[in-house]
């Protein structure tokens, strides 16, 4: 770091130093650089106290659960129950660790691929999948679980996380925001602006980049020429951390440290988790057009569920019975999700005008009236199967609501 050792220069006449000779980096960049190798805990001799043992076991149960959730959601697209599902299969360690690293009062800002993280944080899975079923956009109340609306435009949720965390800090509240984005999203301007604002404001934010290798079909090499995504942190004056994204305990530890750093006033951290999108971009994508099975195979070996299970068994922290119980629990979750998603979603076209403004404008009232008249005409006697539509509809609405609440209670109890 020779620049750091420079002393202000003087010319021979002994006059005042030139402004540029006095230049120094404002922070020591070396302190912000990521490690040369991704941080790992699995396969190391890390000693585990009782608390960490229980954490690793909890991570395992959550991973099994998460894997089954991904499989079930993918199956639901094949049955036409979801319009589309961008799977996080192979990335469950990041999804689960992100949710577990946060405290109750913190906020999670997921992208569209992060419904599993939202569910792991406590959002009802049916609500988490509303966007992908298509019966509303995101629909759920973000304040209940402090999960921001799933963001489909890439990286645009990152400045929201910065603003929310900044606002909380201005109010003197203890709130950290964790924002999730993929490697493709780091090319967006909003990624840059969010990191820059966060660092300048020292906002309590953690940015988690899941580098899963692909932005739909485009590999990382065509996305960035940076040494790594974690290295980008240095340009903003925040630390960058690199972690094996399929090592759930490692991801959890790195995120928990970053969250603690943010909470204690240390400012934002950029975490790059190296993982792999094992499935295609979505069920509508064909990954064979841009990558070979040979490339995917080693990642199937380095699977986050498998590597954690192997380690737990080696450390004698998991019995066959416990593994079977975790699988059975995941199976019950999948069955419940399947049942609930197989019920027709409640659609009320009149909702279209309900939440555009606090008070509908005159023009929206007119359009609402037009739609109501169209719906009433459909319900006229003589229209097949339409008589008494509204009444039936209201009753169904009521039943559905009770149903939902029962299920939510069951999920929470489980």
């Amino acid at each position: 770091m020779t620049v750091l050792e420079q002393t202000p220069g003087r010319d021979d006449s002994g006059a005042r130093p030139t402004p540029t000779a006095a230049w120094r980096p404002r922070t020591d960049p070396a302190a912000l650089l990521p490690d040369e190798t991704p941080f790992r805990l699995l396969g190391t001799s890390a000693r585990l106290d009782k608390e960490r043992k229980e954490l690793w076991r909890e991570l395992y149960r959550r991973l099994v659960h998460g894997r089954r959730y991904n499989q079930q959601a993918t199956a639901l697209t094949k049955q036409g129950r979801l319009a589309v599902y961008p799977s996080s299969t192979g990335q469950e360690a990041c999804e689960v660790a992100a949710a577990l690293a946060l405290s109750e009062q913190d906020w999670l800002f997921p992208s569209y691929r992060d419904t599993l993280a939202a569910v792991a944080r406590g959002l009802d899975p049916v609500q988490a999948l509303t966007l992908l079923r298509g019966d509303w956009h995101t629909g759920y109340d973000p304040r209940e679980t402090r999960v921001a609306p799933l963001s489909t435009p890439l990286a645009t949720q990152l400045p929201h996380a910065v603003g929310l965390a900044h606002a909380a800090r201005l109010r003197g509240d203890d709130v950290v925001a964790l924002a999730m984005v993929g490697d493709g999203g780091t090319s967006e301007g909003d990624f840059h602006e969010a990191l820059n604002f966060a660092a300048v404001w020292k906002a309590p934010v953690v940015f988690l980049v899941q580098n899963n290798g692909f932005a739909i079909s485009v590999p990382l090499a065509k996305q960035t020429a940076a040494p790594s995504i974690a290295h980008k942190a240095v340009g903003y004056g925040m630390p960058g951390r690199l972690v094996d994204g399929n090592d759930a305990p490692a991801v959890h530890q790195v995120l928990a440290e970053a969250v603690e750093r943010a909470r204690s006033g240390g400012g934002p951290t950029l975490v790059e988790a190296l993982t792999y999108r094992v499935e295609a971009h979505t069920n509508a994508d064909d990954a064979t057009r841009y990558r070979s099975d040979d490339e995917v195979a080693p990642w199937r070996e380095h699977d986050p569920v498998r590597v954690l299970e192997r380690e737990l068994r080696q450390r004698r922290l998991l019995t066959d019975a416990e593994a079977e119980e975790a699988a059975a629990d995941a199976e019950r979750m999948a069955a419940r999700l399947r049942d609930r998603m197989n019920a027709e979603p409640l659609l009320d076209p009149r909702d279209l005008f309900a939440h555009v403004y606090a008070e509908p404008t005159t023009q929206l009232r007119e359009q609402d009236a037009m739609l109501r008249a169209e719906l009433a005409a459909e319900d006229e006697p003589g229209e097949p199967g339409a008589a008494g539509h509204d009444h039936q509809h209201d009753q169904q609405h009521e039943r559905e609501h009770q149903h939902e609440h029962q299920h939510q209670d069951q999920e929470r109890a489980a």
């Binding site: 759920y140 996380a161 602006e193």
Partner: protein
């Protein structure tokens, strides 16, 4: 919001250090510019509600390039009136997050054309947050944008971008044309639980009215147009920077024997169909005047709405006097682009005046 309680208690903590008393403006009517009225509206809103935060480029020590935020950082501190990094998407994006937490951010975009980087945040998030969350997350956010030409600005400093915002459901789009409205409408914008694009006609920043700001002017709610000049021959429908031009044209039209009514729309969204149609039913003739380009511009929507609603009261097609369909011209040529008195009078002359005799209309 769950944050309301903690917000209120935190507010109390933040009183005190950093607040300096500003000299009180003398009570009573005094000449006031639009820029001063907007400044006063911001100051009063910030004083009344500590969730109101101002963010933007150069809004702090400089007081904004138009001095609209003058003194706010000195009075309320940097946490309440904040110089941000120079990035409009970041400004609006972080303000969105602040609004999600229950604050009421007021964002300044330095110039019309510099607001475009924030367009995605505005369209994809701010305008739809209430809708996508079924009302759970309202966006009490005001986006102030100085807009329009006529100040000799070089490229990218004179756009009239209102049509882009009008075409985005979920936004209110408003623009004051008088000093009193500038104060009153901004207070309404900040108090609104919906996002408001507040377009400030920059060439009227230095227009003056005699106002008593110790008794702040109350203004009509959004969605109400105002008749600024009564008249029976035809109606000029306008807003923002074109209002003074229309009033001047109406004065000049008296020499031709026309008594022109002048309507100031005030709010483009929500649109006041009722007042506009009542005016057209009275006069039977209408000209829409605005600086924005004509093709697919606000005037196209207004003309269509009038035709749909009061076709049988029209004595002539609704005409438009607008900016040409060209990139905003360089300052030395802008006078040819902006709607002026002569162009407005030419349009009025083309309103088929002979038809009043053939159809028995009253002059």
């Amino acid at each position: 919001m769950t944050t309301a309680t903690s917000a209120a208690s935190a507010g109390a903590r933040r009183e005190g250090p950093g607040r300096t008393e500003r000299p009180r403006r003398p009570a009573g009517p005094a000449p006031t510019t639009m820029a001063q009225a907007i400044n006063r509206a911001l100051r009063d809103a910030m004083a009344e509600d500590d969730t109101v935060h101002v963010l933007g480029e150069d809004v702090g020590a400089l007081g904004g390039v138009f001095r609209v935020t003058d003194g706010l950082t000195a009075e309320f501190g940097e946490d309440r009136c904040t110089d941000t990094p120079l990035a409009e998407a970041g400004i609006l994006g972080t303000a969105t997050g602040m609004a999600m937490y229950g604050l009421r951010p007021v964002v300044e975009m330095q110039f019309d054309a510099f607001a475009y980087p924030a367009f995605e945040q505005l369209v994809s998030h701010v305008a739809r947050m209430r809708n996508r969350t079924r009302g759970a997350l309202p966006m009490p956010l005001t986006i102030r944008i100085p807009y329009g030409g006529g100040i000799g600005g070089v490229e990218h400093h004179s756009d009239s971008s209102e049509a882009y915002y009008m075409a985005t459901p979920g936004l209110h789009v408003v623009t004051p044309a008088t000093v009193a409205d500038a104060y009153g409408m901004l207070r309404r914008a900040i108090a609104s639980d919906d996002p408001v694009v507040f377009l400030e006609p920059k060439r009227l920043y230095w227009s003056k009215e005699t106002l008593d700001l110790s008794e702040p002017p109350r203004t009509e709610p959004f969605g109400r147009a105002a008749v600024r000049r009564a008249g029976t021959s035809a109606t000029l429908i306008t807003y923002g920077p074109s209002l003074p031009v229309c009033l001047e044209a109406a004065e000049a039209a008296r020499e031709e024997g026309w008594e022109l009514e002048v309507l100031d729309l005030r709010t483009l969204v929500p649109f006041d169909d009722e007042t506009v149609c009542a005016a057209v039913r009275r006069t039977g003739r209408a000209v829409v005047v605005h600086e924005a380009t004509g093709f697919a511009g606000p005037g196209a929507e207004i003309a269509a709405r009038i035709t749909e609603r009061c076709f049988h009261h029209l004595q002539a097609p609704v005409l438009r006097v607008t900016g040409f369909d060209i990139p905003y011209p360089p300052p030395m040529l802008e006078k040819h682009h902006l709607p002026g008195v002569d162009r407005i009078l030419d349009a009025v002359a083309r309103l088929q005046w002979e038809s009043q005799y053939t159809e028995g209309g009253t002059p």
